[in-house]
């Protein structure tokens, strides 16, 4: 059921908000013991909010398009009334002391928060297997991962356990799980949504965004949460622009269709792009020669920022705290017990590449290649409107398949990191389904646009007809 349908039926009194929320809670009860998308569910709070919505409708008060709409929130976004664990033992009992700006806006619009969803620890991972609280399963095949790090929200949307949800995307963490779970996921322009109240991972790349069943729903949530915020100095406002299918120019970078891509994905994505061509769009092959370097740049810049951001978890002000004889041992014992393997791997990697004697060779070099990647996109967008690529190189993989080899897991982000490095808006839509071992698995088409062209990217996504 779409957000606009929920809205229409609520005001048409075809069902009460209470009945509808009960329906979603029933789905969670039935499915989530197997899928494990949620870390915390607030049944009583959701029902109370639903009653308030019903009372409003009964009185004939005006409601917004999001009033009463049940939403799932990734557990690295502060939401009052819930814990906020970031999937980590170090924040296992941490209660959100305030609402993130995006949550404040959704709350103001009357949305109902069903619960908090699972993620890789501190949003570091591509499968949710790095969560300290156990992995989430893909709703389309429970032997497979839902992707990550926003795997909990993606699985909740894909399994019908919420109407829509929020995730965060640092290198693909909204788009890759959305593609794996067959839903729409949108990473806005860097800064389009305030990061205030999002637990920081890599601050120059992090962005909050929606996951939902349709582009229309994603747009409704995005329009509700976006905008400049005085609490995030990197946040910004957007302009609007409407593209026309007849004059739409789509760039298809050849580097995204070469070695390492699953032939099924290649076929499905090429078929989807062909449909745009049949509807009047002009397709141009382009080249983004620095694509291959994107992931290497990402795996220097991201851990560097991670090592700085995660230094705050020291057992002094909040979160886990382990007693020790002196202050240094308090830090070490707290962080040793609180952080999982991947978090520690990335903290150490970042600490190393930023340390004396290595900074220029790694961090400064990576920042320079980041400039080249940005320029390469800008040059491409002077000739074309949007870029289309596969969202992921592979179909959802099986649990345990990539946990032993970090680099193979990191390659899951190869098609998505570019948009983060260049600050670009990018959306994934399910463009096809393919059968594997008797199960139907989704394929994602990624559409990338120039900075601040968020609405255009969503317009182009909405043109897709399967």
């Amino acid at each position: 059921m779409s957000i606009s349908q929920i809205h229409k039926q609520l005001i048409g009194k075809e069902f009460s908000c209470k009945e509808m929320v009960q329906g979603f809670l029933g789905e969670i009860k039935e499915k989530d013991k197997d899928i494990h998308a949620y870390l915390e569910i607030d049944e009583a709070g959701a029902m109370k909010q639903a009653e308030e919505v019903d009372a409003k409708i009964e009185k004939g008060e005006e409601i917004t398009g999001l009033t009463g709409v049940p939403i799932a929130i990734k557990d690295n976004i502060l939401t009052e009334g819930f814990k906020c664990t970031a999937g980590s033992k170090i924040l296992e009992n941490y209660k959100a002391p305030y609402d993130a700006t995006c949550i404040q806006k959704l709350r103001g619009a009357g949305a109902i928060f069903l619960g908090k969803t699972n993620l890789d620890e501190f949003a570091m991972g591509s499968s949710t297997e790095n969560s300290a609280f156990g992995p989430t399963k893909n709703p389309h095949d429970q032997e497979r991962v839902p992707g990550g790090s926003s795997g909990g929200t993606a699985a909740a949307v894909g399994a019908g356990m919420c109407a829509a949800g929020l995730g965060s995307d640092t290198g693909g963490s909204i788009r890759q799980p959305a593609a794996f779970c067959g839903v729409v996921g949108f990473k806005p322009t860097y800064g389009a949504v305030s990061r205030y109240g999002l637990i920081a991972m890599a601050s120059s790349l992090d962005q909050v965004g929606p996951l939902a069943n349709s582009v229309e729903d994603v747009r409704i949530i995005f329009d509700a949460i976006r905008g400049k915020d005085m609490f995030d100095a990197t946040s910004l406002d957007l302009e609007n622009a409407k593209p026309k299918a007849e004059s739409l120019k789509i760039g298809v970078p050849k580097e995204y269709f070469g070695e390492g891509i699953d032939p099924e994905i290649k076929k499905s994505v090429e078929k989807a792009i062909k449909k745009y061509e049949e509807n009047g769009a002009k397709i141009e092959e382009i080249s983004l020669p620095h694509t291959d370097y994107g992931l290497a740049v990402y795996y220097i810049i991201m851990p560097s920022e991670v090592s700085a951001n995660l230094a705050r978890y020291d057992g002094i002000r909040y979160g886990l705290s382990k007693d020790a004889d002196n202050l240094l041992d308090t830090y070490i014992k707290t962080r040793h017990n609180g952080f999982g393997a991947e978090a520690r791997r990335r903290i150490m990697l970042g600490t190393h590449v930023l340390s004396s004697g290595y900074y220029d060779a790694y961090y400064l070099k990576a920042q320079k290649v980041r400039t080249l990647i940005k320029q390469e996109y800008e040059k491409a967008f002077s000739q074309i409107d949007v870029i289309m690529t596969p969202t992921t190189p592979t179909l959802p993989f099986k649990l345990g398949d990539k946990t032993k080899d970090p680099v193979s897991m990191y390659l899951s982000d190869i098609f998505t990191v570019g948009a983060n490095l260049a600050g670009l808006p990018a959306v994934t839509i399910p463009c096809d389904w393919t059968e594997k071992e008797g199960k139907k698995l989704p394929v994602g088409l990624q559409i990338i646009g120039p900075q601040k062209s968020d609405h255009k990217v969503l317009d182009v996504a909405e043109m897709f007809k399967s």
């Binding site: 370097y293 795996y299 002094i316 002196n326 202050l327 070490i332 150490m348 990697l349 400064l364 400039t371």
Partner: protein, 97 residues
């Protein structure tokens, strides 16, 4: 070229990062970190002469808010109360020196 770190290097990094690691973990981190450093080595082939580094991607500069007191989302007492030890409305910390 393999970038495997020495055991001493891993110990040094762990100390800088305030992360306690066990002996078995030292070997594992040597291997894992080495593999990632090998992978990112591919940047050696990129010519970055005369290229400026990018730290912030959308080009905003000197973003400030009005210098006014107040208006945070959070209540100060609620924040202080989250600390494991407090005294007179302050966070209590062990002796540094």
């Amino acid at each position: 070229m393999s970038k495997n770190l020495s055991k001493e290097q891993v110990e040094h990094i762990a100390e800088l990062a305030r992360i306690g690691i066990s002996d078995e973990e030292k070997e594992k981190f040597q291997k894992d970190l080495g593999a990632v450093l090998d992978y990112v080595d591919k940047l050696e082939g990129v010519d970055v002469a005369d290229v400026e580094p990018t730290a912030h991607i959308t080009g905003l500069e000197n973003e400030t808010r009005p210098d006014e007191n107040g208006s945070s989302h959070a209540d100060v007492k609620a924040l202080v109360d989250m600390a494991p030890e407090t005294k007179d409305g302050y966070v209590k910390v062990g002796k540094v020196l």
